[in-house]
């Protein structure tokens, strides 16, 4: 667990920082409330473990290592708001710490920009950081209780796999997100496809299979009685928030289910106003959910 006075370097990633910054707004408000300190750094793209790593593994390692050296210079751990950035930075850190040959190769590349990877810091997912704070402490801040809200938890793939490297949670039955959702009074539902991918990755190659996977995910959660999804990855968020119509067309259904980032659920529970969180920028409507819980 991080020391109380310690500060993280915040890694919001390209998607949250430059496309859906309202997620970052909720995360910062929740961190402030819970006393989690962060600071900025001129990080480049993590880079994307699905996209960029598929193009060239060595370039992916070198760019990931460069980001790590920026945090190493300040001797601070990184907290990631995104599954993809988290997996890249943690996996690059792991690979270079455990493979002397690969580390040498990458450091030879980094020499051209006068950097050296040392392997002296750690990378954390924000779910781990919140979970480390403790459910009891989180409960102390709850002003709006979400009792009765049935939540389909979706951790996404890169939060906890490959487990030998990530070491975040149980690889096929993650518990931390469920416990955090329960901390604000909501009820995580059991649904068969909880561990199913959102389908974003394959969508880079072809849309139809991506929408089919998403529809299977939605159907399973809705059948289990879920009112909303709670997610912890911006790629999953975008896939699920923006593609409900397409996924519906693919499977002859109409999907209309709110997608919330965990930090948005927490911020609302802690008494934040939906307008200050930029919830109007969600594509799938939150109106009836917000009205039901007394938000205007």
């Amino acid at each position: 667990m991080a020391k109380a006075e310690s500060e993280y370097k915040l890694f919001q990633g390209c998607t949250i920082g430059n496309r859906i910054p309202f997620i970052e707004a909720s995360a910062r408000k929740v961190f402030d409330k819970l006393g989690i300190k962060t600071s900025e750094a001129p990080f480049a793209c993590c880079p994307d473990p699905v996209g960029f790593n598929s193009v060239d593994h060595t370039s992916w390692l070198a760019m990931g290592a460069r980001n790590l050296t920026i945090a190493e210079q300040e001797n601070k751990d990184i907290v990631s708001l995104c599954n993809g950035c988290f997996q890249t930075l943690k996996a690059v850190n792991h690979e270079l710490k455990h493979d002397e040959h690969e580390k040498q190769k990458i450091n030879d590349i980094l020499k051209t920009v006068k950097r050296e990877f040392k392997g002296s810091i750690n990378v954390k997912h924000f779910v781990e950081v919140l979970h480390d704070i403790g459910v009891d402490k989180i409960k102390e801040h709850v002003k709006n209780d979400f009792s009765g809200l049935k939540v389909a938890c979706h951790t996404g793939c890169h939060y906890n796999r490959p487990s030998e490297i990530m070491q975040t949670d149980d690889p096929m039955e993650p518990k931390k997100l469920r416990e955090l959702v329960a901390a604000v009074g909501a009820t995580p539902v059991d649904y068969e496809e909880e561990m199913l991918c959102c389908g974003a990755g394959v969508g880079n190659a072809e849309e139809a299979p991506s929408m089919q996977v998403l529809a299977n995910k939605f159907n399973s959660a809705i059948e289990a009685g879920a009112d909303v999804f709670v997610v912890v990855c911006p790629a999953c968020f975008q896939q699920m928030d923006t593609n409900q119509k397409k996924a519906g067309q693919q499977s002859n259904k109409t999907f209309n289910i709110p997608i919330l980032y965990l930090t948005e659920l927490f911020a609302l529970a802690f008494g934040e106003n939906p307008d200050d969180l930029g919830l109007k920028y969600h594509r799938s409507r939150l109106t009836s959910f917000l009205e039901k819980y007394g938000f205007k």
């Binding site: 430059n18 960029f52 060239d56 590349i109 299979p209």
Partner: protein
């Protein structure tokens, strides 16, 4: 007759981060849990992809006209988790994808994204509209990365050649 490509086979065998025995006995657990094999079984099958990779049958893999045979993988890492032999399948598939890109056969998305990273340091470059939105939400500016450093690194790794920059 299928030819064994030994150089290709060595690349595949070297792909593991955590070194384990690389014996696949074709139990099919990877394909059982694969969300893509589940909905497109005729087009994507991790079990056969691993078989052909470990045997060094490069031409069998790359002569398939449908590149979904390689690119169907959604990188969910589920197969890695269930493999009884702890084969890091996703690492092997990354080698195949890198080779497919080098041959100019990858989906356009991938090189487009790599180009954005090469040119701006970010997969999604900063835009004025989003910067304004960040301001409205009382968020600090995203500190821009050094594009010069990024390009020096990516010229070293020869990514510039891969994406023709």
């Amino acid at each position: 007759m299928v030819k064994v490509d030994y150089e290709f086979r060595k690349k595949i065998m070297d792909a593991h981060i955590i070194d384990t025995l690389k014996y696949c006995y074709q139990c099919n657990r990877c394909t059982d849990v694969c969300p893509i094999a589940n909905i497109a079984p005729d087009r994507y099958d991790p079990r056969s992809l691993i078989l052909n990779s470990f045997l060094g049958f490069k031409s069998t893999i790359f002569s398939n006209e449908d590149n979904f045979f390689i690119w169907g993988c959604t990188v969910c890492d589920t197969c890695d988790e269930v493999c009884p032999q702890k084969i890091e399948l996703t690492e092997v598939f990354t080698v195949l994808k890198n080779m497919s890109i080098a041959e100019g056969k990858g989906p356009e998305y991938y090189t487009t994204q790599a180009t954005a990273i090469y040119e701006s340091g970010k997969a999604i470059p900063s835009q004025p509209a989003i910067e304004r939105r960040r301001e409205q939400l009382s968020l600090p500016q995203v500190e821009p990365p050094s594009v010069e450093e990024v390009q020096k690194i990516l010229n070293q790794t020869k990514l510039n050649k891969i994406i023709n920059k």
